[in-house]
């Protein structure tokens, strides 16, 4: 017979720690690894220094077009056309209105983090779109009306994306629930809608919204072009959200539905309090992925004559004073898209962490 005493945990040996150990273990552990490490460094060397030269060191930031001597990026073009990139043809004197909306949105995101009271949260969620709409389009409270034809640039991109995201989310959830419904009519309508929309390119839907839809209305009823595009994008996006949410719903064990039922919760109570919070949590990465895709797809509104931030490159570089500045324009717009999409993906990660109750 033998009895053993419990041993204390010991620190790892020092040869397993430190920078040198990390380098050897991760970058130069064998010949293949060392080769790819060196190759990677060489590729970075080929790309990064010239890029920094072009974008910063050799770039022209001030002065006029005629004074350009350096060979790098001519950012004066962006600075000159900055307002157009941001607001399109929105009257310059009224730029404070979209700016204020942006400020409100930032305040909203911060407030959502700190306000605990549910009713205040819901009130904010409902009020923000209304206030934003009134501020941007005007027509109420003595604010000068700005027609949607004048909206453009990054502002338009953000509006199209925001409306598409906010409106498609609840619609997508309802469609996903409809697809799982036991009622045959509700189910087949949901399936029919989702499969139809998913089988058609967004461009087609935008064309239909802008060209075909008006044919169904009587003459004289003019339905705003932007509104039609927004409806088209919302319907398109809701079908994708529905499929993403359905994936989340299917991952919820049957026992959760049964537990909700056995406690006496009704269908909507069970869905809203028990099933959806879990299903949406699982779906966050895919939902955000789909929103990022939508954000980039908003550039397609160009083809029905709406000038978003990408269209502004074409427009500003066709100014005879500024011909040949496409590269700067596209690089600038690329950076804008990247910053926004990257922020969205980081935000999704922080939301995921917040809802994680696994440990």
């Amino acid at each position: 017979m033998a009895v053993y005493t419990l041993k204390e945990a010991q620190p790892a040996p020092s040869s397993n720690r430190g920078l040198f150990f990390w380098l050897r273990e991760n970058l130069f552990s064998d010949i293949t690894n060392s080769f790819f490490t060196l190759l990677g460094c060489y590729i970075i060397y080929l790309i990064v220094p010239p890029l920094i030269d072009w974008m910063i060191i050799d770039a022209t930031w001030t002065g006029t077009k005629e004074e350009i001597v350096k060979s790098g990026a001519r950012w004066i073009f962006i600075i000159e056309k900055f307002d157009q990139f941001m607001y399109g043809f929105y009257p310059e004197a009224l730029h404070w209105r979209p700016n204020l909306v942006l400020l409100l949105c930032a305040a909203f995101i911060v407030a959502m983090k700190y306000v605990q009271h549910m009713k205040i949260k819901i009130a904010m969620i409902l009020l923000l779109p209304v206030i934003s709409f009134i501020l941007i389009s005007g027509g109420w409270f003595g604010l000068e009306t700005v027609e949607t034809e004048q909206w453009g640039g990054l502002m338009l991109t953000m509006i199209v994306a925001a409306v598409g995201i906010i409106a498609s989310f609840p619609l997508g959830i309802v469609l996903a629930l409809g697809r799982q419904s036991h009622m045959p009519i509700v189910k087949s309508l949901s399936v029919g809608f989702i499969e139809f929309v998913r089988g058609v390119p967004l461009i087609t839907i935008l064309f239909m919204a802008s060209v075909v839809l008006p044919l169904f209305f009587q003459d004289g009823i003019d339905f705003d072009k932007l509104l039609r595009a927004l409806i088209g994008i919302t319907l398109f996006q809701s079908a994708y959200i529905a499929e993403v949410v359905r994936g989340g719903l299917q991952a919820i064990p049957k026992g959760q539905y049964e537990a909700a039922d056995s406690l006496g919760l009704g269908y909507w109570q069970g869905m809203i309090l028990v099933i959806l919070p879990q299903a949406l949590k699982i779906s966050i990465p895919n939902i955000v992925g789909s929103f990022i895709a939508l954000f980039k797809d908003t550039t397609l509104v160009l083809i029905i004559g709406l000038f978003d931030v990408l269209a502004m490159v074409t427009l500003t570089t066709s100014d005879t004073n500024w011909l040949g500045f496409e590269v700067e324009g596209y690089v600038f717009v690329t950076m804008i898209y990247w910053c926004i999409c990257f922020s969205m993906s980081q935000y999704s990660k922080s939301v995921e962490r917040k809802f994680n109750t696994e440990h």
Partner: protein, 248 residues
């Protein structure tokens, strides 16, 4: 005996899954405060039987009467019955996105519309009873299986049911946690709540049950008080079953 004292009456209950006849003419009467243990081989219809009692499963023929109300598909009747009948599941089925306390508050505040403060008081009382009040703010996944099942029992008790159904409550537990759950169930039994328990814990059946029921192939084969049931089984099928589960 007056009909009022019958908590549950199942009369010729039949159920089919498609063409498969899972329950055949189940007749069962359970008196107020009675503890019944149902056992039987897997697929014998024992879980299906108790799941019919709170309408998690529909049945096609026969009648079920619970505390004087006949169970129908009418949503109001179903909700009324579910307020009377609590169910504890094999896999606990706690809501992982809610803390232990929130799990207990859900039905009282949303279904029974109790003020939150009162619901918290009740919830803490029952958590105290299942000896887990110190974990109220944790999430289910942070607890052991035995703790989770005790929370599930407390969650049921919060709706103040007349009847508790247990569907193999210890089958998913590690062996060393079985007794903490059974202890809570024994305590509950002593307090006079009507209890139906599907289980293979024969020790529990001997100690607590007023009656033990053996089911096989969708029928009740034999029922008896525990002493007779285990020491003097009548049917061959029960003899074989008892041999198998008691042989190790």
């Amino acid at each position: 005996m007056s009909a009022q004292e019958n908590m549950i009456t199942m009369h010729k209950v039949n159920k089919w899954y498609g063409d498969f006849h899972v329950l055949k003419d189940i007749n069962l009467t359970i008196k107020k405060g009675e503890k019944v243990v149902i056992c039987g081989p897997s697929g014998s219809g024992k879980s299906t039987t108790i799941r019919c009692l709170n309408h998690l499963e529909k049945f096609q023929k026969g009648t079920i009467t619970i505390n004087g109300t006949e169970l129908t598909d009418d949503i109001k009747v179903v909700r009324h019955i579910r307020a009377e009948v609590g169910m504890v599941f094999q896999h606990f089925n706690l809501f992982p996105h809610l803390s232990v306390l929130e799990n207990l508050l859900l039905a009282p505040t949303w279904v029974h519309k109790k003020p939150r403060k009162e619901a918290i008081k009740t919830a803490m009382y029952y958590l105290e009873r299942v000896k887990i009040a110190d974990q109220a703010d944790k999430y289910p996944n942070q607890l052991s299986g035995g703790q989770q099942q005790r929370v599930a029992i407390a969650r049921c008790l919060c709706i103040n049911p007349h009847i508790m159904l247990f569907d193999e409550p210890t089958s998913a537990l590690d062996p060393e946690m079985v007794s903490e759950v059974l202890d809570v169930m024994v305590e509950l039994a002593d307090e006079g709540i009507t209890m139906i328990c599907v289980t293979h814990e024969m020790g529990f059946a001997k100690k607590v049950a007023d009656r033990v029921i053996f089911m096989d192939a969708g029928q009740i084969i034999e029922e008896n008080e525990p002493h007779e049931f285990f020491d003097n089984p009548q049917s061959d099928r029960l003899k074989i079953f008892l041999d198998q589960i008691l042989s190790h």
